[in-house]
């Protein structure tokens, strides 16, 4: 079935009746996934937004539980509200980020209830890419720009309309909702691939052995230790837990944290296992390209290029990958 582009607004309005619909928009000059209806320009044409859709599932500040304390007693009340959400206009790299976060928050011994509640209430509608930015390298990282396999529904851009491919119950439900708008018709999009090609073969294993290599001794100095790369990266999921205290009551919340901050691993008493920028940058690249792969056998880098574009001193993971390639194997 087919959804013509002229009817997209209507389709979004229908969706917006029962759920908040997050669409790529340019709001105040910043491209992000904003609820449909905020004034700003719908931006389905840009490749990917500055701020990824990860805060739909993993908000920058998430309240976990409220508490009341007295000299003796204590009371805790979990915050469980989470409403239905739809993310429309996902790219494959953003869908890859959701896959990675699913692996982290839903598997390995514990399920993070805050995340799982939001995940069940989320419907993902992906759109394939028709062009790529010079900094996109998702296909080198195992992500197919033309098709987000794990999305609930995949829209394929065939010029004036989208071919609707519902894959899961949620996708089918949306398709049913859109029934009046859909027309018959098929079509395929010309597959595209990224200009920037990286050879990732065997890299995770090689990198795991390179902890002591001198590749790390250069290239870290320019980093200013800010959180930009980690906060706009779709797959970064590190968080800190803290309390907002008001006398005898308050809220325990978790919020994004960045391994690039200097006090991220500083322990009470001052000992810091990663004291300088060299160790922190090494840890970030190793986590993206090696550690995560060892644990969840998936690349933690979706190849979206956001960090390459937005790093104020362009610390560039793609040029690092090329440098790793040049290192002789036993290096």
């Amino acid at each position: 079935m087919k959804l013509s582009k002229s009817k997209v607004n209507q389709a979004l309005d229908m969706l917006a009746k029962e759920a908040t619909v997050l669409v790529p928009m340019i709001v105040d000059g910043v491209s992000k996934f904003a609820p449909w209806g905020t004034e700003g320009k719908l931006a389905l044409d840009i490749v990917n937004t500055l701020l990824p859709p990860k805060d739909a599932l993993f908000p920058q500040t998430e309240k976990m539980y409220k508490y009341k304390v007295s000299a003796e007693t204590a009371e805790v009340k979990e915050i469980t509200d989470s409403d239905k959400q739809v993310v429309f206009g996902l790219r494959s790299c953003d869908m890859h980020s959701i896959d990675c976060m699913d692996a982290v928050f839903l598997t390995k011994g514990y399920v993070d209830n805050f995340y799982s509640r939001k995940r069940e209430n989320l419907t993902t509608i992906a759109i394939n890419c028709t062009k790529s930015n010079p900094t996109c390298f998702c296909d080198s990282m195992g992500v197919d720009p033309n098709n987000a396999a794990s999305a609930d529904m995949q829209l394929i851009d065939i010029g004036d309309a989208y071919v609707v491919e519902a894959r899961t119950e949620k996708g089918k439900a949306v398709e049913a909702l859109w029934q009046p708008l859909l027309e018959a018709g098929e079509g395929t999009a010309t597959p595209i691939s990224c200009e920037l090609k990286l050879d990732m073969a065997g890299l995770p294993a090689k990198l795991r052995g390179m902890f002591e290599s001198d590749i790390w001794d250069d290239g870290y100095q320019a980093c200013i230790g800010c959180g930009t790369c980690t906060y706009i990266c779709p797959t970064c999921y590190c968080f800190d837990i803290n309390a907002e205290n008001h006398g005898q009551e308050g809220v325990q919340f978790r919020c994004w944290d960045s391994c690039m901050f200097s006090e991220y691993t500083r322990m009470a008493g001052g000992h810091n296992p990663r004291p300088s920028k060299k160790e922190r940058l090494r840890n970030r690249f190793m986590h993206k390209l090696a550690y995560f792969d060892e644990r969840y056998n998936k690349n933690l880098c979706a190849g979206c290029g956001r960090c390459v574009v937005n790093c104020p001193v362009n610390i560039d993971i793609t040029r690092f990958i090329e440098k790793v390639k040049e290192v002789p194997v036993n290096g």
Binding site: V69, S70, A71, H246, G247, Q248, G270, S276
Partner: protein, 660 residues
Amino acid sequence: MSRTGVFICHCGTNIAAVVDIAKVVEKAKSMPNVVYVEDNKYTCSEPGQQAIKDAIVKHKLDRIVIGSCSPRMHEPTFRKMLASTEINPYMLEIANLREQCSWVHTDREKATDKAIDLVRMAVAKVAKNHALFTSSIPVTKRALVVGGGIAGIQAALDIADAGYPVTLVEREPSLGGKMVMLDKTFPTMDCSACICTPKMVDAGQHPNITVMTSCEVEKVSGYIGNFEVTIRQKATYVDHSVCTGCGICELKCPSKVTSEFEQGMAQRRAIYKPFPQAVPAKPVIDAANCRKLNGKAKCGICQTQCPQGCINFEDEDKLITNTYGAIVIATGYELIDWKSIYGEYGGGQYPDVINGLQFERLVNASGPTEGHILRPSDGKEPKSVVIVKCVGSRDPNKGKGYCSRACCMYAAKHAHQVLEKIDNAQCYVFYIDVRTAGKAYEEFYTRTLEDGAIYVRGRVSKIYEEDGKLICKGEDTLSGQTVSVAADMVVLETAMVPAAGVEKVATLMTISRDNDNWLQEAHPKLRPVETHTAGVFLAGVCQGPKDIPDTVAQASASAAKVCGIFSKAELQTNPMISKVDIEKCSGCGDCAGICPYKAISMQDMEFIEHGKKITRRVSTVNSGLCQGCGACVAGCRPGAIDLLGFTNAQILEEVDALCL
């Protein structure tokens, strides 16, 4: 997680009358970390304090909040009480429920809410208090007394008699101040010179007292126990160590100058002793009027005449610096310049309208008229004398608002002297009230009435000259008629005002002044001779108008305070001072630039960072010099330096607690 005890005071009815104590107690029970709340009729009383001590033991408390009067009043009291328990005296916060709540509000419900807020703020702050400990600093057992009047002399004598060295600094060439100018003193009418000059001589000769006349305090730094004071010895052009005080130079000196001591009613020479019984009894040269020194002529007669050769025209000011443990300020007073204010009394154009001190000189045996009351205009004996009281005092719009306390009595004394010295004289005293609040004062006043002084209840509205007589028009409010008296002479009992130049002394000693420029005592009732600067005390009229008995009492009181400090080998410093966390300090030096006491210095220290030995510049605080103002703490961006007792965390807690 600490265990805080809250004690709310009724203060009799001062707090309880307006604030609903029960509600405050109820609300306090639910405040964070509070495990015990009690209210008490008089917390500062002995049983009140004992109740707190018992509660500390019974409920294993480790922090105390007291809702009572202002901390400025009883914080020291409650800290002393805690010193005798196992809680550190600084684990205490006081909520000001009286001066800033019950006394200033009327709406019971709102005042109670405010009281609850104030207690909540104190509970929040005390949670972050730390135990603080005083450290000790050495004491220089030498006192400085500024001002050589009776107050300064008495204080110096008492301290010296206690065995401590004293430096007595006097601006004028001789000790004595205003008292030595007087003739008789009330109420005993004993001659002022007879009781003042012996004390001046004692001071002059006391082995422990160094008298420094014609000197002024130039610079003061340091703190209690270690004041660094620089004194400027003004050039006197006479070498007092050689001079025998023979007086030949005074006779021979050609230039005549009006004598300040004689209140302008007599002359003195350029080289002079202010008055015969001066201590030190040696002359000084008044450079402004000495023909040689002010360049008008080549004179120098005194130098040639002086048998000892002590005149030296090249003398210059000398600066002498010394350390002192305590300072007593006794800069005294002067009379208000009535001429520029009260045009209605002739504004100074009638020579026979004089002020109290001028009358004292007239009636004084060593005065310009050897004790005979003669009119300054024509030297005749005045038959009718009018005395006008409260000239400049109790007159907020033209003069001063306050009452100068002593003038009622010395006005009666003047009337008594007029009636006694001038046979069948007439003496009228215009008064608003007669305040005789002293021992044997009332009897003295009734005796003056019996002598025949006529007291007229009313202010003199105008004085003008009419055919040789000074007509004083006024109103007798008791009879309601206007009154006019023709007088030969009028004595105005003018208001006392602080001595000129007291601002400089106050700023040097960093003590503040009240609205009328009198020096500000720490507490009008409880600490009248202390100031807010530890180690600086006040004596006499510089603290406010008073008569000689009160002045001498204050002088001895301040001497006792000084001896209190000197009796201890070391002094305990204020523990609420700044402290640097050298881990957070980046050595930028902003705090050192801000500190008014130069208590912060930047020093290089050795550190191990990432296994490498480095030296890094950090800020260090000298616990003796730091007075705990906290200006550096607000200037330190990362909060590396913090003020114990008022740390950033404590104040943030207070702000948060207030806004809940």
